[in-house]
């Protein structure tokens, strides 16, 4: 029981991070019908920016931990948002009328460029960050095993919850969210109602990138080690989460993220940690074979 609870906590924390990245995939997919394979590297960029910003704020600026964290948060969101905007502008928009394979290839190209730039500029070795937020609670003790809930895990979950709640509110209640949904459902008609469709698409990339950036910040703080390659695997796992939840569905992306995190944690806890990625991608294959629309995806049967 204690062991189970611990895996549950670990899985939810991990899943929250995947869910944040998955939102970006699903948003872009629902508007453009395109998988933005450069999205995973944005998360990596977020991790590096937050590491740099945090270290700069503490060592050069002499800021306190809380201030440094805020500096890291805002500079990460700012930089990743700017990067997301730029990528859309130069690598995807010119290809919008091109065959679907073209933006996919340019997405992979963009992520290779960013990865290699990071490897050159920051070095290819693993970057450590000494633990910033330590401590937590002992929830339970028994059979010589203690269940811990760390402050860091609480922060990850609360922050994810807050971001997802704010994001859901934005999509369902504000005029920007309405314009986004309209563009997603009928781009031509949205333009005929005076919506600047290009701007809506840019905004989508900006928001998705900022969310992935926050995920990068949280991973840096949570694991304390990052390298230039982390975006690849995390990106594909978040993509799996989006597919599992139903690509194009926002609640699906959040649910899929949590499930992938839980599966990974339980698999590592009970079977073998070496094979955890096999479990994740086995699920991707099974979903694609047996339920291609995912858990919350909708089959297209509406009358138009």
């Amino acid at each position: 029981m204690e062991y189970f609870l611990q895996q549950l906590i670990n899985g939810l924390t991990l899943g929250a991070i995947y869910g944040l990245i998955a939102l970006g995939y699903t948003m872009v997919y629902s508007i453009l019908g395109m998988i933005n394979f450069a999205h995973g590297t944005i998360y990596m960029l977020g991790a590096f920016i937050s590491l740099i910003a945090f270290l700069a704020a503490t060592t050069i600026g002499g800021a306190s931990v809380v201030v440094a964290l805020l500096v890291a948060l805002f500079s990460t969101m700012g930089f990743t948002a700017l990067w997301g905007w730029t990528v859309e502008r130069i690598a995807y928009r010119p290809l919008r009328a091109a065959p679907r394979l073209a933006p996919l290839i340019s997405a992979i190209g963009v992520s290779i460029v960013l990865q290699n730039f990071t490897a050159q500029a920051q070095g290819a070795r693993v970057k450590p960050l000494p633990p910033v937020i330590q401590g937590g609670f002992t929830l339970m003790e028994g059979d010589g095993f203690t269940v811990n809930l760390s402050w860091m895990q609480i922060i990850v979950m609360v922050m994810t919850l807050a971001l997802m709640a704010g994001f859901t509110w934005m999509i369902t209640k504000t005029s920007l969210g309405r314009a986004q949904r309209a563009t997603e459902q009928d781009m031509k008609m949205a333009a005929l109602l005076g919506i600047d469709v290009d701007r809506v698409i840019s905004t989508t990339f900006v928001i998705g990138a900022a969310l992935a950036g926050v995920a990068g910040l949280m991973v840096t703080l949570y694991y304390g080690v990052i390298d230039f390659y982390i975006g690849f695997l995390a990106g594909i796992k978040a993509f799996t989460a989006a597919v599992l939840g139903g690509i194009g569905s926002l609640p699906g992306a959040m649910l899929g993220g949590l499930l992938i995190g839980l599966i990974e944690a339980f698999w590592s806890g009970y079977f073998s940690i070496e094979y955890k990625d096999v479990a994740t991608f086995g699920i991707l294959i099974m979903v694609l074979v047996f339920r291609p629309t995912g858990l919350l995806g909708r089959p297209d049967v509406e009358k138009i």
């Binding site: 309405r178 008609m189 109602l193």
Partner: protein, 237 residues
């Protein structure tokens, strides 16, 4: 209100319009009739900037809007209820109407909503329903209502009668007449149902293979034997 001069346009290499001249005066209802594939829908879409005109000019209230992007054209007082209605299927009727008001002052929203719902009481009962679940006639009402939410100077209607039962068609045309009469909106209407369209319109144009073949007052065109033979006999009721 609207002045189209020597307009040429098309999709890709296929040219659909070969120099069209049309004028729509303030407060008028002007109908554009013609067979399938004559270029009627292409003309309305070209007015909205998609596809772009390859030659010619479009003036809206004296301003050249030919080269403006679609959303800028709409912001200048044009509203389009396109062929096939294009209701947002997974948005409620209310949200569809909100989208119609996307370019207008939010302070007008309540007033405009009331005006549109008075015109289409049926929509009032369905405000929370998803657009995709409405019947064809209700979707057409929503499409016109949505276009009116922006307080347009000029309303474009593309095939408002398409696929609707005769009784519903009559109702829709009555409402179009009311919009023109009571609200002073200028209307440019494209129809295959030439009889209804020409009966309603002050003036009409006949489009054949991307060119204006005939024009005149609605009643004159209705009386024209050539028109009767091509567009009316058999189809009208």
């Amino acid at each position: 209100m609207l002045r189209i001069e020597g307009l040429k346009s098309g999709y890709g290499r296929i040219q659909a319009l070969h120099g069209v001249d049309i004028e729509v005066g303030q407060g008028e209802i002007v109908a554009l009739v013609g067979a399938n594939g004559a270029g009627k829908t292409t003309l309305l879409m070209t007015l909205c900037g998609n596809p772009r005109a390859s030659e010619g000019r479009v003036l809206l209230a004296g301003e050249d809007i030919t080269a403006l992007p679609t959303h800028q054209i709409i912001r200048r007082g044009l509203a389009h209820s396109p062929e096939g209605r294009h209701i947002f299927p997974r948005m409620s009727v209310y949200e569809n109407l909100q989208m119609g008001a996307a370019v207008s002052d939010p302070r007008h929203f309540d007033q405009d909503l009331e005006r549109v719902l008075a015109l289409f009481p049926r929509l009032k009962e369905r405000l929370d329903q998803r657009g995709g679940t409405l019947s064809g006639g209700e979707q057409q009402m929503l499409a016109i209502g949505r276009a009116l939410m922006s307080r347009p100077k000029l309303l474009l209607l593309d095939e408002p009668s398409l696929g609707l039962a005769p009784l519903v068609v009559r109702h829709i045309f009555e409402i179009i007449a009311a919009i023109s009469r009571d609200q002073g909106v200028t209307i440019f209407l494209v129809e295959q149902n030439a009889f209804h369209a020409l009966k309603l319109a002050h003036r009409g144009y006949v489009l054949v293979n991307g060119k204006v073949a005939l024009s005149g007052s609605g009643t004159d065109l209705l009386a024209n034997p050539e028109i009767r033979a091509h567009y009316l006999d058999g189809g009208a009721s």
